[in-house]
């Protein structure tokens, strides 16, 4: 298997928010935390309106992992970026580093205290005993351990949101683009999974 990825087809997304609801329901995400959300551009402009479903893209070279001061992030064998909430200090660096605005922070207590970071887990739980109550309470559902894929993608009514092995979903998308003859742009893939030369360290050229 290559690695797990999300792909949102802007030609198909109808902004129904079914993926958001599926995620909330599956993981019992608290009020104020949105692991997934639908973003619409050119709202109301005929022919130019596009919607995309956004969550953690589980980047190949995840910036959140790089900036975390307590190194609470890890990547699983399937390429899913997860974190240990017992280590997270809720500093918010990952939020600033993430190009997708994926990390979420529950507001708790007085003075808007920022809690431990919460984000999409690709429905893969976290570093607790699989399918245990502790894992569900901290990270939500572990569908991968049940041989399933993320609820958001599997629930998508128009199949705009695809989730799973990158090769398989890219093949599905390719077939779709050939059929309809347009809309081959895959939003966010360059940023999340980029080309190797894009990921190279900046040369730091001096003027």
């Amino acid at each position: 298997m290559a690695r797990m990825k999300f792909l949102c087809d802007a030609e198909r997304c109808i902004e129904c928010n079914g993926c958001v609801t599926a995620c909330k329901n599956e993981n019992e995400v608290p009020w104020g935390v949105n692991r997934r959300r639908v973003v619409t551009i050119n709202d109301g402009v005929v022919g130019a309106e596009k919607s995309i479903s956004v969550a953690c893209m589980h980047c190949s070279d995840a910036p959140c992992m790089a900036v975390c001061p307590v190194d609470c992030f890890y990547r699983t064998d399937e390429g899913v970026v997860l974190h240990d909430k017992d280590l997270c200090i809720g500093c918010g660096y990952c939020f600033y580093a993430c190009p997708f605005g994926a990390p979420q922070f529950p507001q708790a207590g007085a003075f808007g205290l920022r809690g431990k970071m919460d984000k999409c887990t690709f429905c893969a739980g976290g570093p607790e005993k699989d399918l245990s109550k502790e894992e569900f309470a901290k990270y939500g559902s572990n569908r991968l351990a049940q041989g399933k894929l993320p609820a958001c993608a599997e629930m998508c009514s128009t199949k705009a949101l695809l989730g799973g092995d990158g090769d398989v979903i890219a093949d599905i998308y390719r077939q779709r683009v050939f059929k309809r003859g347009k809309g081959s742009e895959v939003w966010g893939w360059g940023t999340a999974y980029g080309k190797p030369e894009q990921r190279a360290a900046p040369a730091g050229a001096k003027s």
Binding site: M1, P63, M65, A66, V67, C68, V70, D71, C72, F73, Y74, T76, D77, E78, L82, H83, D84, D86, L87, A124, G125, G126, P127, E128, K129, D130, L131, N142, L144, A145, Q146, G147, K148, L149, A153, E154, K159, L162, G163, G164, D165, V168, I169, I172, Q175, R176, K179, A201, P202, A203, G204, K206
Partner: protein, 86 residues
């Protein structure tokens, strides 16, 4: 007299070294390095028995990564509605 001159020379050298210390040209671009995970270990999804959850519908052999991947791929391909409608 000689000692005082030596001392003055040493002082001047020290002053120059301290004063010019910030004049070097260094890379201004930060290159992030990935840290090493410090948290608890996680189990692999294929290490679970297919029946360990009430709602498991996929089937694979416990501990067998290949059969788990095959089960996931089957579900993955189900996202292609062309397989169903054509």
């Amino acid at each position: 007299m000689r000692g005082a001159r030596k001392l003055a020379l040493a002082g001047a050298a020290l002053l120059a070294a301290v004063g010019l210390a910030a004049c070097g040209e260094r890379d201004q671009v930060t290159v992030y390095k990935q840290g090493k995970y410090q948290g608890k270990p996680d189990t692999k999804p294929w290490e679970n028995a297919p029946g360990s959850s009430l709602y498991t519908t996929s089937k694979w052999d416990q501990g067998d990564k290949t059969s788990w991947e095959a089960a996931v791929k089957t579900r993955n391909l189900a996202q292609n509605e062309y397989n169903r409608v054509e």
